[in-house]
């Protein structure tokens, strides 16, 4: 811990500097690996865009989870359910009206994207309230089971034929059922720039890239810009949660985490605080779900399997529950090392050793090893199934973390509750001020 703190202190810019430094290291590693293997500029930029995208979404989700688990101690393992509600409600509101003969089987309400985004967040928050109102009385592990059951109920609901298509305000709308829902609203990036009247400027900016990417640079640049937008959202989340955490509201949340009975006996209506924190976290998860999927063109309910919830948990645990900086770092490290890393590694190995004939199953992969000590098929099969094996690595990483470093990279969960430094010569004076402040009426 102390060693890491020293490193953290030596980086200029404090926590923000640390995040930037880690991001730079990650990008440098990816670029160097790509350069070493002769990736084209286009390939490099694409990789960076995808990497940034996942860093953004996982950092956002980890931050939202940090509000619930790190600050308030609410064990939510239904994250993916709130993401699903966010994007589906957003699609319902923002998809264009139904027209027969179009590609989409169902339409939406045709409202602007921003209305849809707000509606999705509100819906996720409301679902959070429905879960939280009764479930907060339960033990942490019961809340866990209730939330994961809820996320599965959400998935089954979107899968069901009954909600595939229905009428709302006289329009033909729906959630598309198991075959998925086409997100045929305006390209979010285009809508974003058009709202500032900058779309033409953006297209001009894209055409500049023709210098380095001769043909059709737009998808690549879109990916990079969208990644940058996501990083902007991460900054907003970070700022919001930092403000929340340092406010009197956040102090009560931390008090609840440490000892709910004590907080209760000090006159705080802990249930109300927990519900508010839970709802805020759920709304942020809904927004993260929207941002994750709204550029993907379509959503299917089976995307929202519980494993994504656990991805977010791993990210938070890597970073350290209770620390916003840690959440962002955890999201970045998870996305770079555990989520995108193995896939990138597979691509790299494929470029070095082209293996067109990877065995189709474990049996054909192992039999040459047994019969004539030929490990090559098993190696190729392993490389080929990296998407499954990376989940094995994630599981092992989670076990290792819980054994050796349950507090994560930066899990200084004992963050000072006061808004002003308590150390040094001012310690006694500021402690008094803090006491008087916390007792004030601003908390509740």
């Amino acid at each position: 811990m102390s060693v890491r703190d020293d490193v953290a202190e030596r980086i200029p810019g404090g926590d923000a500097g640390l995040i930037v430094a880690v991001l730079l290291v990650i990008y440098a590693a990816y670029v160097l690996a790509g350069v070493g293997l002769g990736y084209s500029v286009r390939g490099q930029l694409n990789t960076i865009g995808v990497l940034t995208f996942y860093i953004g979404v996982f950092a956002m989700l980890a931050l939202a989870l940090n509000l619930q688990w790190g600050y308030t101690g609410l064990f939510n393992i239904g994250i993916v359910g709130f993401m699903a509600v966010g994007i589906y409600v957003m699609a319902l509101v923002s998809k264009p009206l139904y027209e027969s003969g179009g590609a989409a089987q169902v339409g939406g309400l045709g409202l602007p994207l921003i209305v849809g985004i707000v509606a999705g967040m509100v819906a996720a928050a409301l679902l959070g309230a429905v879960i939280a109102l009764p479930a907060l009385r339960l033990r942490a592990d019961y809340l866990a089971i209730v939330t994961i059951a809820m996320s599965e109920i959400v998935r089954f609901s979107f899968l069901s034929g009954e909600l595939q298509q229905f009428r709302l305000f006289g329009e033909r709308v729906g959630f598309g059922g198991g075959s998925g829902l086409i997100l045929d609203f305006t390209n979010p990036l285009e809508a974003f720039f058009q709202s500032f009247g900058l779309w033409d400027a953006y297209l001009g900016f894209v055409s500049v890239f023709e210098v380095i990417i001769p043909n059709n640079p737009k998808p690549v640049v879109d990916g990079l810009v969208y990644g940058a937008v996501l990083l902007g959202f991460v900054a907003v989340y970070f700022w919001l949660l930092k403000r929340t955490g340092e406010s009197p509201f956040g102090r009560v949340l931390k008090a609840i985490r440490e000892d709910e009975d004590a907080a209760n006996s000090l006159g705080k209506n802990t249930n109300r605080f927990k519900i508010k924190a839970f709802m805020l976290g759920c709304a942020l998860m809904g927004l993260a779900g929207i941002l994750w999927l709204m550029t993907s063109g379509a959503v299917t309910p089976n995307f929202f399997r519980p494993r994504i919830t656990f991805f977010v948990w791993i990210a938070l645990i890597i970073g350290g529950a209770g620390s916003n900086t840690g959440s962002v770092l955890g999201g970045a490290v998870f996305a770079a090392l555990l989520y995108q890393g193995p896939r990138y590694l597979k691509n790299l190995i494929d470029t070095v050793i082209p293996n067109a004939d990877a065995p189709s199953g474990f049996g054909p992969a192992v039999s040459p090893l047994i019969s004539n000590f030929d490990p090559a098929p098993l190696f190729f099969y392993t490389i080929d199934s990296v998407r499954q094996l990376q989940l094995v690595f994630m599981g092992l990483a989670l076990i290792w973390l819980m054994h050796n470093r349950p507090e994560g990279m930066l899990g200084h969960r004992k963050e000072t509750a006061a808004g002003i430094p308590l150390t040094g010569s001012r310690a006694s004076a500021s402690a008094e001020t803090d006491g008087g402040d916390a007792g004030g009426g601003s908390d509740e």
């Binding site: 069901s160 009954e162 474990f362 989670l398 819980m402 054994h403």
Partner: protein, 368 residues
Amino acid sequence: MGIAETYTRGRQFAITRPGSVLVALVGAVLLFDLVAGLATGRHSFSGIGSLVWDGLMRGLVVGLAGIGLSMTYSILNFANFAHGDYITAGAFSGWATTYLVAGFGRADVGALLLVGAGGSVFGGTLGIGVTTTPVAVVAGILVAGIATVALALLVDRTTFRPIRDADGITLLITSVGVAFALRYLMQFVFGSDVRGTTSQPPAMALYLVDGAVRINAHDVALVVVAGALMLGVHLLLQLTKLGKAMRAMADNEDLAQITGIPTERVVRAVWVIGGGLTGVAGYMFILWKGTLGFNDGWLLLLLIFAAVILGGIGSIYGAIVGGLAIGLTASVSIVWIPSAFARAAAFLVMIVLLLVKPEGLFSGRSTA
């Protein structure tokens, strides 16, 4: 007097437990609808009978697998999310054995050991069934139990024992890691395809008022195996000191230890009993439903949690009754709601019960 007393007590109950009254009302309405449906011919007796039978079978699997989860939950104080993958591990180990015994000499040994991964061998072609290849099935049941015990002990030794004193949430998160590693390792080895494992078992038709309820040999095998194991566990915990030691440990581990109970040995016994039952439950589940995929145990896990919580954590009777209740809910609920929501209904029953009676039906009785 008697009536007035009953009335007063009833009113007291309604005031103190409004949730229970509401649940009872909803139950009564649904039951009335069912009876009315049967009387008017909207539902057929045999159709409902088939659903009930299906629910009972599902419930036996859930209950059998739930006993192990309930025991570890109460004694080690954490919700083991890897339990579902113990079920899958039991199923794969047992079915690899069954395939090997039933198909030896008729197909490639590797394909048999991988339970016909990638469509290399089909259970139907091998004619696997409890009547056609009884030796293979019995061998499979034994291996499923033993292999799952070994796996549970190995995971406990390497993963849970080093952090035995950590809080329940830390252990829960660790068990999620175990679940991930196990599940996708199994997918890596056995592939992701869902394969058919049995040939059509012989069935008999029981006539019920207006039609037939079909009961096949695998249903009967499930009833026999599950019933025998449940009875065995009951006797084991009632008649041996182990049961008493478990109850003591569930109550207060430190106190149990200073009374001279070898807690680590009890923990090991819990994994042995729980793991064995879980592995066999996994095997029987696959025998009963006839298909096997690497996700089966995980998909069953939430239902098992629902059953264990419904019955009351730590109670093996609670796990069995809760399992039957959850199985019946998941099957019979399609009388009233679209079938896509059947599993959702089972979860909803669990959530409602958590709110109305969080200590479970067999409240607070630990391990017996």
